[in-house]
Symmetry: D3
């Protein structure tokens, strides 16, 4: 019985060390990740209880995902085990300006992509939960995964849970058109919508096709168009891959929210958006949108300082950062 | 224009360092391999020219395979490139007694498994070649790959090439029954048959279903049953995973051959059988079966001392070993 | 609510890679361990539920212990957190003949050594449990830890649990005299006594001072002297540090038990005895002493093939080994 | 017989590689350090002779400290060996903005913390020396260490040595109040006082409680209040953890000194202050305060470019930097 | 038969990881490089065929160079093998501001330094080639190597090949005076002259002694003085070792060319100039100087993001960068 | 002023990790060694004082050698520094049966090979010393080094020091004929002769050309032929590269000596002979040949368990081994 339940694919992440390309490396750092996996592990770092629901192959790699989730205190008892399918893998090459980082997905036919509605016992998985989270990656995996996502969101909403959704658009998984067609009906069951907006040019949510004159305006329009209770937008400024700035805005019930902007020395930005969702959830569960925005942004900022998808920083460090702790060695 | 042409899948090989299990490691050693890839790289170490024919995805991992083959001087101009498919991967956990090593294959839907007859321009690929080699893994990949194997063997034989075949049975790819049904007709186009035989119990070739009272007897029966010009059998003694002994026998045209037995301190036994095939080919091309057996066994013995599928030892070291070089530091 | 509850110190384990000495290394492999920690993680690998009770400092190192236990599915909700104390550390140098491995303990004043009776809520920690396990290291940590051990054993026994005890004598923690004086009264509350016996010379249990003409005889005498329901003794043969043999005997209710002997290529022998205890518990919970002995010995044998204190092998691999699986690559 | 003698604790330093947190790493980089250890090794890099006086446990870790000191040519013949105590350890996590680096000290009950007055034969240790250096960490270790510090300073001063002192305040060792109470009387025996001042806000020396309108003013006030012959203050500007600027000011005998400011790409800032002290000493021994300030600042700047506490740069590199060597590859 | 033929030394490159100094490291990263080796591997990445001509010792290190060249598809059949000589080695220490990177050459008496005119069969090596490239390092190696360089340039020019030359001045190999004396006569056989110019101060080509009021002016003067068909100059701005900017200018047949300037987060700048030459050659072979400048600068910019001398980026990435691809993760 | 003075080359040692070949590795382990360097560091581990005399280039690699010697407490004040020459390097590939380990020397023109008589101030270097040690590698480096060796031995003998000599024949440095011609006259100034004898076949000292019916007989004949005060022979049995046995015999003043034989699990045998010499010296200085033989053999046996040329085991461990300490974990 967990406060937060997330639903999505977990993957093995393989990356060459120290900016090497795949063609030149002889070792790979092995880690795990996946948008909803990252949210589940993030909220437990912030003191909440969480459960991650997924579908995994019954082999050593599937066990790695469960082990890592459990290591962070995430409940994995509702994972569905598959005898035949494979683990999704992604290869991550870290870039430096002017070379962007690249992800080579090898996730076709993964166990999670073959999930079907009815496979998860949602009545049990959601028992006692307060919030359900998933992202646009889950319905993008396959038509049956899209149906399973719709099923999960509908049940969560019927049970009165808050529901958090991040479209997380991946062009290698589906086209913008397919992404819009499949996700638009899901929005009915979403109470809180989170996404990242580039700080260059006009504010635009690409998947749902909504634009605004500013991030704040975009948030308002998204909320009004789809009836979201809350909309939160992360804003990233990039002057290279190793230095970024990060802030966020939110809108809820007629009120706009802002928070600090952080200068980041980026160690690993993968999972930054998921860390924002995790931090935001910590406040949203208290119905405190300012806290949600502060925690989300600070926790996301801290994520950039840690290698891997998982945000190994702590609730204490997040609170210290919000309060304005400096950069001196803590000793 | 290469003397030896091999045909088969290449894979990325990922293994946790120092006897770790996949569940406990945070790094993977990355290498490449595949039975016929290993044979092609083996024969170039022994001074021959070789070409490796395969089908690869057009991405960084596909390029890794081509790079590694080229590094050893293997011609890759007949590789077929695929836009959509994936690279086959295998995860290798090194064991120590009493825990066997394990291989977790993730090779379904690989680019090579989707090869179809007619895709390779064999007229060009085999031009000027003297010998064609493939193994039972290639037809096991898929029905279309089995057809492509039959096509290649038939063309090679029509062109008058020597043909070398190792059944290399993998129970995770197909059943013994399927393996026998598919491979038996291929034997018509095989001139040299190589396989490994356990030194415990009776001598038996599992796939084709032939048995003998001894390894020598088995070699005779295989040659007689299928009309092979040459049969070579490797014999391995195991008193643990880190100490093995290795020898081999051959039969050709009414004559039996023996060679030395080597005590091995095993660093990595994967690719040992392929190294035997490579060394054997070096003699078989000279129609010198004793040389073939001596080179095959010594080169295979040396393979066990080197990490990875590729046998980085040299022609000189192979000849020194056959002549009886000792174990003193060479300086 | 776990079937098995263990009670003891967890430590950070730091070891130079590849047989280096502490004086020459610039990196340390970091792992975790501790006798009862190892037993708890061992029994979950074998499919049981387990809880590990300990006392840890509230810092990153304390969290590492909890994370690692959770990763293996061990319940840590009864860990007592300390604000002030330190984590115990041990430095492990791997040896090769004729140099023995060495452990440099730095565990004085650890959080666990300062545990006091009454700190653990045993009523809750043991609720629903069937078996309690601890070892002689726990009472050796300090007088208050010895009292806490006595308290735990007494409560477990009152509740009708099976209790497993391994003296695990460490001369750097206490003298044989002190060990005997403190532990002898504890034996009243022990139902199953496990210890290791050298295969050289006469069979002797050093701490309690019992000797026998053979391991079997020693088991009988221990059972008779202290009224143990079961006694199990592991027997190790050493012809170097990298090759060992391992078997075990047991005695219970007038009957002696034997099992296979395994030849081991030793990767890391630390935790071997704890793995035996974990495997033995799996059978003892079924009141099947032969199963206990078979599982204990096979699981302990497998432990030697994996680096670290934790036995990352599986129930399936343990069962395969008992059935006589060979050493061929599993693929 | 060394020109410079320093007195303080040496520690084993353990840090996860590449910005990892302790909770996620499986290896630790092992190095050594300690304020006065760093000063001693620093002055030998600059061509002086030095002796490091400390108290160490008689085990492999104690030997590591001595080995490392000797490697840099530091005399360790006055180290006091302890049979029973432990080595101090510190765990260092490297941060990136906005996450500060953290140090987890595990130094309680270290051999050095148990040093008592009279244990060191100062007559012999200081024979022929020109300068004695220690820092506020030494008296902070324990009351007996504070007494031993007072003893050493007094003897050094009686012998007419120059004495250098850096308060090096560590809040985890003692409170500001205790630090002030213990250190104020020591100042009588200090000829040169060095400390770091933040470049944000007013200039303030926290421990002794002196403030100034500017760094120069603070230096003057410190000198006047305590009668120091020389005061030197390092000034650090931070726009993140990976880019810093560094300069310093000094005051002596009515004259103020300035030096260049350096832009730093920070690899490891630990030991930067100690490197300043080492460089400063090189000039102070010549009674050339401008040289002291130039060498101290340049040597400290170079320290930031090298991993570990020890400054592996050379006298030649220090002089080149002072002369304005650029950033082109030296080849 | 390759489009591009380069002639120069290849070396083993050994560098301590993570900014360590040679005095503190216990491991070295091993790679290969050399100006003309880098150009040959660079042009194959851009889709051309290339041959690298050199002289190597017949041992494992010599084979490493050939293996690496072949891995990138470079033809090595014209390498001259030496029985007696040694491999050139260079030790590279990575710096961070204010410490410059340093190269410690150990290349005296290398096999390549002992090359003599007549040893290479240039008729065969240049058959079918369109362009010959070498740099000022080759004649600097020894008088006989200087003669061999003159021979090669003369033959290439006689055959009507384009010839590319970069003076690549190394003060540890020869004095400016010797460099000028030896290279001036070579310029007669050079059609395209490439060199790097610092962006600070006046534009000056140090070796040939030509200056200009601006980079563009310098290019014009170089072309006019020596009759070069094309002159290309790279311009680097440095605000530290980890952030650089890079652009270039060219002049040919009365016309000046410019291209974009790139902000670089520098991972490894060694080989940047060689990457420029490789990219420039790709356009020069098409007689398209704008393309040459665009490709050269973009390919050089990308080189800085990859560890090692070899530029593992691709033609596609180079074209994407020229078109203005941003810094978002490619997935 | 050291008890023992050794004279010979130190080298940088580079070896691929985990049995890799040079052709396949991307990292090298960096260490240092050299026969007489190893003896000097060995005797300090055994509690004696030692000085190592050599000639080194004035660069980072030269400093590495001095640092490493000092780390072990060896005096390096008599090292001669050269401005121009290079450091000798050796590449070591670890083998496993049936592949021998290989050493690729790159030591030509090293600073030490250019040493000349008169360069070392032997009066000062040998002041207060009791024993001088060198090996046949030193005169093999060059004719001038041979003269310098003769000079050193002669002066040592004149001063009444014991002198220890090990021929250490290296076929890549000189022929047997040259080795004999140069070394025979040196024997006049040698008091103790040490060498290794294979346990297969007859006992033979190859360089000096003496044979015996047994190792003991060989020792007698050597002593008689050359008038050595002591002769010690190490005897190695090899059943692979990872398991060896080691013992030794000695002869002095009409008496033969034996010691234990040790079974070795070999981690790194390089430096084993030098460790024997170091241990032997410890007893020879006491004129106790039995102690010399016991210490030499035990210290050499322990050397095989530690990676690198330096024997990081301790006097205590050596004494424990002689007394018969077993293989149990020391904790």
């Amino acid at each position: 019985m967990s406060e937060v339940v997330t639903f999505g694919e977990g993957m093995v992440r393989l990356s060459p060390p120290h900016f090497q390309r795949l063609e030149q490396t002889s070792t790979l750092d092995m880690a795990v990740g996946g948008a909803e996996f990252n949210v589940a592990t993030g909220v437990t770092r912030l003191g909440l209880t969480a459960s991650w629901v997924s579908r995994l192959p019954q082999n050593a790699l599937g066990r790695v995902l469960v082990n890592q989730a459990r290591q962070l205190g995430v409940d994995t008892s509702h994972v569905v085990w598959s005898r035949d399918d494979r683990m999704g893998i992604y290869f991550l090459e870290f870039g430096s300006a002017p070379r962007p980082s690249t992800v080579l997905y090898d996730r076709k036919n993964s166990a999670m992509s073959r999930i079907r509605p009815g496979e998860v016992d949602w009545a049990s998985a959601l028992a006692g939960a307060k919030l359900f989270e998933t992202s646009g990656i889950t319905p993008a995996l396959s038509p049956s995964a899209a149906e399973a996502t719709a099923e999960a969101l509908a049940i969560a909403r019927q049970k009165g849970l808050k529901t958090v959704y991040d479209p997380n658009y991946r062009s290698t998984l589906w086209s913008i058109e397919d992404a819009r067609k499949v996700q638009t009906p899901l929005m009915r069951d979403v109470s809180c919508f989170i996404t990242g907006v580039s700080m260059e040019g006009e504010a635009k949510e690409a998947v749902l096709g909504v634009t605004g004159s500013s991030p704040h305006d975009l948030a308002v329009r998204l909320a009004e168009t789809f009836g979201f209770e809350v909309v939160a937008l992360t804003l990233r400024g990039t002057s290279g891959l190793m230095r970024n700035s990060l802030t966020a805005v939110a809108y809820s019930n007629g009120r706009s929210y802002e928070t600090k902007s952080y200068d980041l020395e980026v160690v690993d930005r993968v999972g930054g958006g998921d860390a924002f969702a995790a931090g935001f959830i910590a406040g949203y569960l208290d119905d405190d949108i300012q806290k949600a925005l502060d925690y989300g942004t600070a926790f996301a900022a801290l994520k950039h300082t840690v290698p891997g998808d998982i945000n190994w920083t702590t609730l204490q460090e997040t609170q210290d950062l919000i309060k304005g702790a400096g950069l001196r060695i803590r000793r």
